[in-house]
Symmetry: C2
Amino acid sequence: MTDPVFTGGERAPTGVEVAAWIRQRIRRGSFAPGQRLIEVDIIRQTGASRFKVREAFQRLEGEGLVETEEFRGASVRSASIDEVRQIYRARIALEGICAADFTRKASAEQIAKLERLQDELDACVTENAPERFGRLNLEWHALLVEGAENDVIRQLLERLNVPIHRLLFESFYSPNRLKHANADHHRILRAIKAGDADGAEAAMRAHVGNGFSTLSNISDEFFG
Amino acid sequence: MTDPVFTGGERAPTGVEVAAWIRQRIRRGSFAPGQRLIEVDIIRQTGASRFKVREAFQRLEGEGLVETEEFRGASVRSASIDEVRQIYRARIALEGICAADFTRKASAEQIAKLERLQDELDACVTENAPERFGRLNLEWHALLVEGAENDVIRQLLERLNVPIHRLLFESFYSPNRLKHANADHHRILRAIKAGDADGAEAAMRAHVGNGFSTLSNISDEFFG
DNA sequence: CTCCGGCAGATTGTCAACAATTTCGTCAGC
DNA sequence: GCTGACGAAATTGTTGACAATCTGCCGGAG
């Protein structure tokens, strides 16, 4: 998956496309929290008209990713440590119920796919590859949410994850976090394969909660 | 609580205000699902400039309340029966965790306030006043979410509730629904007062789930 | 040296005019 | 009566110009 790029010869990007372009940069940290989003810069980089860029800003503010101030334009909204805590609380609730629904609804293939991904995650642990683990971990969670067959929740989680995207990766550099997170995954998988929806939900909630605890320990690096 | 009104003598409304104005009309059903939102009509009714109205549309589309189509403008997004199911699933997760967090965090005053509201709800049951019950019920849930001290979740729930706002009221005209919903409330309150966060969460999840079941029974009236 | 006021450039907010497209009534032809 | 082409009206999309505000620089007063 690459950045949306708008090369010269093609049509001008729409507001939705510009919003996606900005969203991805925010996720990746190219646009840091608090950074002002200058209209002309984005116009230059995307080839979109000013109108479309402003349209994208509105949309992103509706999503809660940027905030605008009179005559100061749009800037990337930065999440406080308390807001991160709130986001994690929401994730606990939503990913938890997804684990339960996945257990009830997932096909054998979907479970097998999850297990294959888990094998790769296991390899990352033995090789101590936190970066790769972070990427595959995202896929793993996305696959599980996908299998819960609830687009409303899937979209909510996608939005909630944007402000904490970088933190998710950072946490895996913390000692033993890889091992512990992986153990959580195995507990979740065991419950799913046993058809124990409640157990899967409880295990997932614990897993997400552990993620936040780790984050809190390394949070000084990111917050005041 | 009245509609945001923009009388002649005052300043022109901002995009945020226009969005709020439209949002409230969607909630109340003045703007029905599928209905097109004509720019000039809204300009006439709000006194906002065309620019601000379009700004509001963008924002509302970001929130998922409105969908826009090329050269056909904005229209109120209509939720399918399956999307309503998904929304309820999200509500079960989020309101459930709020009940648990409320139990842990709420002050004595907040609990007392919830009980006072509950007394009024009880009165509505004996008097069989579904309309009033519906309004107070919203307040009751809002108060509980408020006490959970999680603005992220509060905002998510507010957005999720918009498309089902009318359905929430309709369900209370169903026979015995008032009585059953009220019994659920008492169960939740009992758990809260006992400091039983898990019990409160379970009771809330059952309560919201029951709401959807009732809805499913009367859904033929609203959906195909 | 520091502080303050003001000026120039940069950046965003607003609007009105025009272009593109859809919508809907009308009417000829069958 | 029905169908389909046609065109006017309605509606939305886009652009560019201008207004309002902020930001940073510079020079003078103390």
